[in-house]
Symmetry: C2
Subunit: 473 residues, 2 copies
């Protein structure tokens, strides 16, 4: 069957194209198949970064890989329990009776974005330190309160949430690691969406006076609740545990139903209506569990894994286990791939905000997008788009979760442990499923979508890690 | 580039094989590709059936297709609401103060399988007509109660559920169509699993005296609940609404939470513990909604669509809209593709039982398997196996649901409207997701799996439909 016209060359040539598509396209036009290798110039060709990458993936690789394996083990196996509700002043480390905590990296008051500024003012009013917005603004501007990043107090706050000393927080932890997050404020005119109207202030007071005692009593009566075991079930029910937490929240409600009733609290019906309307009830609990987990993981030296990722609507910051205590920050990006409420768009949106990106560090949110059909609408429309988000996260992660699995992909684990070496080499930053607030009007949420983290912070962290290892620290 | 060695035949031959795989295998062994057409002898070659099929798919096809389109429209658009809870005697049609209803086609007491016999005895005791099992057996055997098939009373009963006049039933309906199903009895030693111990009898009394007033008050206060709208959400959360209903049940709990609390019932905590433990709380509600829907659909003449499918552990029966009021019955099959509790297997299992297969008629259960990852374990293990169950149902169904969609398949609708012509032609009977009871010991559930309906009943229904159309009825 030899019918070659050119005896010196094989008849069936298979072609592989590496890099630019130009050549491949040309071959395709000639009617030949070509395998395209998705190769790109590492680190976008930046020489300083490439030098650092060569060391971090070369002679320091073994040391880093060992550290990363241990960080991954901690992120993958920590088992935080929800054990109660308490007043922030009584439990949150270094909380004072004049402290207000906010999400994201530390920031000067003058740089606060509009929704976070409003949330802080609402919090000041809810504490009784001011009667109206103007007074609240003055109290803060005059240094009458100590503003600090919640992350430095073992606390995580979604969207524009702020908390004062009398806020009630969930206690979530294991061994020596406990983290805190307040009761989710729910939909509508609420401070965490950047609303500072009287209604939002009253709601903050209500959360502390009505919701907290009921929840605290029910949780104490039920006993410790394994947060990630419940999240694991929620993933099987279409939650990504970030943009969508309602299946998991419903599981918690069913779990606590008897204990809630047994509180015999006279405000229980009011509280029940609040819970029924709150699709993100579980969000803050999952965030606190994630924070307790990353706090354990960050004790491992030499790791290139991200152990903090947070935004305040002005800056976006990360911390990396092996790169010291510093935050690496850049301007907060606008949320991409977004769906907006009617009448709103990028031009009315505040930049990305909140501590909820801590979820993406342990395999929830973006990494779990492929398992959350209802989230798919926000990331492009189809399940294939959602799977692409999960696949991108897999490219930059250490490994896959042994507990958080994606039912639609025959229960493959979600990607866990963002390795900044892979982020910088492949120029792929993490995707964060998130909500979007109005940039200026104090009208609350205007959309939701996927935020793409800025590359600069990963590059800076990479250079810092490289320096430390060079110096033998 | 012409290099053919045989100018009279094309060089690239593509081969299609129709029917037996023998030829295709042989060609494959010779290193050539072959497209295999999955063709089989229609109706397994039975001549009488083929003659009937030729008429039903030939000269009567237009008439039947028109009828089926209307049946499909009704199955696909009926919107039953859950409106309350009432005593069976007060609402169920033709219920008397000595009637006991059971699932499946009508059956003589002497032919009742063991679990259903036990459930009837427990019901007799719960009504106060007998003090123990022996007395209950005598009461029934002596004709002291009127036994009847629940299906003839607009009522559907899952597994081995039986109800007497004092049982409490959900009211689910729309326009002139209302159907009934009792409160699901929950897990453990319960009569619907074929347990007739005192504990099971007390539980039946408790359901009527404690659970029913609470549920009735809460549902009345909440207002009509759109059952299929809730089911639609549940499908997005991994329920098939038959073997798994817990996401939908949790949605109902969250919806009713405030109204339940406002009943201020002194037994509410007890009731709450019951609901928390009951993963199949929503099953009976979905069944009643399906029954109301099929009752509307069955009024369409000339249709070849199945509008009743039920089992009593002894016989399996169907009714077809165009084939008159008769049930077509055959011995109930054992459940195939089953997973058993440790220590049990086919040899300890009662045959397929319960009215829950009404769900499969409107696109829930088996047709929705592809969207229920947790159900996949019972149908073969992987999501591909679950998809195969949905695909099989699509082969024998009129069309796809416009409301029940499969999130993992980019929201394609579940197959709706089982056409007996397709069933008989392709020799594929419906798959029913279901539980399995012990055959003799009264110990309750021993497994779960997929029941495959017996072919005979579809063939008989087909011949009956053919006769009626031949006779011009």
């Amino acid at each position: 069957m030899s019918d070659s016209q050119s005896p010196r060359l094989p008849r069936n040539v298979r072609i592989a194209n590496v890099g630019l598509d130009l050549l491949a396209d040309s071959i395709n036009r000639q009617g030949r198949d070509v395998v395209t290798v998705d190769w790109r110039i590492p680190a976008a060709g930046d020489e300083q970064t490439i030098d650092a990458l060569e060391r971090l993936m070369g002679r320091h690789a073994a040391r880093i890989d060992t550290a990363n394996a241990e960080v991954f083990r901690r992120l993958d196996t920590a088992s935080p329990k929800l054990t109660g509700v308490a007043r922030a002043l009584d439990v949150v480390p270094r909380m004072t009776d004049r402290t207000i905590l906010y999400p994201g990296p530390a920031l000067e008051w003058s740089e606060f974005c509009d929704p976070l500024r409003r949330s802080v003012r609402a919090t000041v009013m809810s504490e009784g330190w001011a009667r109206d917005r103007d007074e609240a603004e003055k109290v803060v501007a005059s240094g009458g309160v100590t503003l600090d990043s919640a992350n430095h107090h073992a606390t995580v706050l979604p969207m524009a949430t702020a908390i004062g000393p009398s806020a009630s927080v969930f206690l979530v932890g294991f061994d020596d690691y406990t983290a805190y997050s307040p009761i989710n404020q729910g939909p509508g005119k609420t401070a965490w969406f950047g609303v500072d109207e009287p209604e939002a202030v009253e709601h903050l007071v209500w959360l502390g006076e009505v919701a907290a005692p009921i929840l605290g009593a029910a949780i104490s009566s039920a006993g410790p609740i394994d947060v990630f075991a419940m999240a694991t079930q929620g993933l099987q029910m279409g939650d990504d545990l970030h943009m969508r937490t309602q299946a998991t929240g419903n599981l918690l409600l069913r779990h606590l139903f008897g204990d809630l009733v047994e509180t015999s609290d006279s405000h229980l019906a009011e509280f029940a209506r609040f819970w029924t309307a709150n699709h993100l009830f579980f969000l803050n609990i999952a965030m606190a569990a994630s924070k307790a987990t990353t706090t354990w993981a960050e004790e491992v030296p030499d790791s290139s894994v991200v152990i903090a990722m947070a935004r305040n609507g002005t800056t976006f910051g990360i911390r990396v286990a092996g790169a010291g205590d510093d935050w690496f920050i850049a301007p907060a990006p606008l949320v991409q791939h977004a769906m907006y409420h009617s009448g709103y768009g990028p031009e009315t949106s505040a930049p990305d905000i909140g501590d909820s990106a801590v979820l993406e560090l342990i395999g929830l949110g973006g990494p779990a997008a492929a398992g959350a059909p209802a989230v798919a609408a926000f990331v492009g429309g189809t399940m294939a788009d959602a799977r692409a988000v999960t696949d991108q996260m897999a490219h930059i992660s250490v490994s896959r979760s042994s507990r958080f699995t994606i039912p639609t992909l025959d229960n493959v684990g979600t990607p866990v442990g963002i390795d900044i070496r892979k982020v910088v080499e492949l120029q792929i930053t993490p995707s964060v499923n998130t909500g979007i607030l109005h940039r200026a009007d104090g009208i609350g949420q205007v959309g939701a979508g996927v935020a793409v983290a800025p590359m600069d912070v990963f590059r800076e962290a990479l250079l810092a890690l490289d320096s430390r290892l060079q110096e033998g620290r």
